[in-house]
């Protein structure tokens, strides 16, 4: 990152308009592959691990989510502190610090999601990873989730939001 930042500022000082690169997609493929391996090896995609979590019988999932939030939070604070800019020619879409009262969609939508998470034992990321692991029946859950998104899109005007 540091090498890139200094490189782009050098070019900027030389008046080069294209100071930042286009967004390439292969890094996202790489991130996905790494996450797929991490999710599998650490049991994030295990229906049994999710049951352990909702029964408070193991620290494992809480440790994963907690340490992920800690590392992610430190990263975001550093990005803000040093006002880091994206490597690609895009704006930083960082959520603002302004407080907004959580609307109904977070309470109700979150609970509906949780009901499904408890039954299926998989959230959206693990749905993809389970399919890669050969649990092909998860495709039925994926199609059903798409239907859920579609129905939400169709009736969202009737649902309470903020």
């Amino acid at each position: 990152m540091a090498a890139h930042a200094s490189g782009s500022s050098d070019r900027a000082s030389q008046g080069d308009a294209a100071e930042e690169g286009p967004e390439r997609l292969w890094p996202y493929l790489l991130v996905g592959i790494v996450l797929g391996i991490v999710f599998t090896r650490s049991g994030v995609i295990s229906w049994f691990r999710i049951q352990e979590m909702f029964r408070f019988q193991s620290f494992h999932m809480f440790g994963i989510i907690g340490s992920a939030v800690a590392v992610g939070g430190i990263g975001i604070q550093l990005i803000k502190r040093f006002d880091a800019r994206p490597m690609t020619d895009r704006p930083m879409d960082m959520p603002s610090d302004s407080f907004s009262a959580p609307g109904w969609q977070y309470w109700i939508g979150g609970t509906v999601f949780g009901l499904g998470w408890g039954l299926l034992g998989a959230c959206p990321g693990p749905i993809y990873v389970l399919f890669g692991n050969g649990v092909t029946v998860i495709a039925a859950a994926f199609l059903s989730a798409l239907l859920g998104v579609w129905v939400y899109g169709a009736i969202r005007h009737f649902l309470p939001h903020s």
Binding site: Q105, G114, F131, G132, N133, A145, W150
Partner: protein
């Protein structure tokens, strides 16, 4: 080294690696990391009909996350062929699940329910099809899932994400302690 790669990974290795994706994604493209928006992208790409919610430039908005989702499938396949070592599930959970008729905690899912033949049973249909529907509906209603709210949102200290995560757990506890016992009845 090979052993470390094929054995199950502890939480303090996996959690920080997952958390790193949040700042890395911001530093690369300024995007807020999340996965469930890909469901909306696929709907918009395949069956938008006249639904306003599904009328957007899904190709430019979603290319990055759809590519990542493809990586998730590939990563899962790589992990599967390089090792089949299972997780060690707590004894208390094994006892509780045995009381619900789930006698084996081998593998990634209870294989008798999460199979194509299990799909036609009532527990299989509710857990997979109804569960999937609620995950899809809920994640778009709440505008995020475990990645977008629990990891990205809490990392950014968002109160809205904290509420969503409280909802995730309220719903999950209800499913685990009320719906699953009703559904499986210990007589599966």
């Amino acid at each position: 080294m090979i052993d470390l790669l094929t054995e199950p990974w502890p939480w303090f290795v996996a959690g920080p690696l997952i958390g790193l994706v949040v700042p890395i994604t911001f530093l690369y493209s300024g995007r807020k990391w999340g996965i469930s928006s890909t469901f909306r992208d696929v709907c918009a790409a395949t069956f938008p009909r006249n639904i306003e919610y599904l009328q957007y430039a899904w190709r430019s908005a979603g290319a990055w996350r759809l590519t990542m989702a493809a990586g998730l499938v590939i990563g899962g396949a790589i992990a599967a062929v390089t090792s089949s070592e299972g997780q060690s599930i707590s004894a208390a959970t094994q006892t509780d699940l045995a009381a619900l008729g789930i006698l084996s905690v081998d593998g990634l899912v209870p294989s008798e329910i999460f199979s194509w033949s299990g799909l036609t049973t009532l527990p299989g249909f509710v857990m997979i099809v109804v569960g999937g529907f609620l995950v899809g509906f809920g994640t778009r209603y709440a505008n995020g899932c475990t990645s977008g709210h629990a990891i990205s949102g809490l990392s950014a200290l968002r109160v809205t994400s904290l509420v969503a995560v409280l909802g995730f757990f309220a719903g999950g506890l209800l499913s685990t302690h009320v719906l699953l016992p009703l559904l499986l009845g210990g007589d599966f």
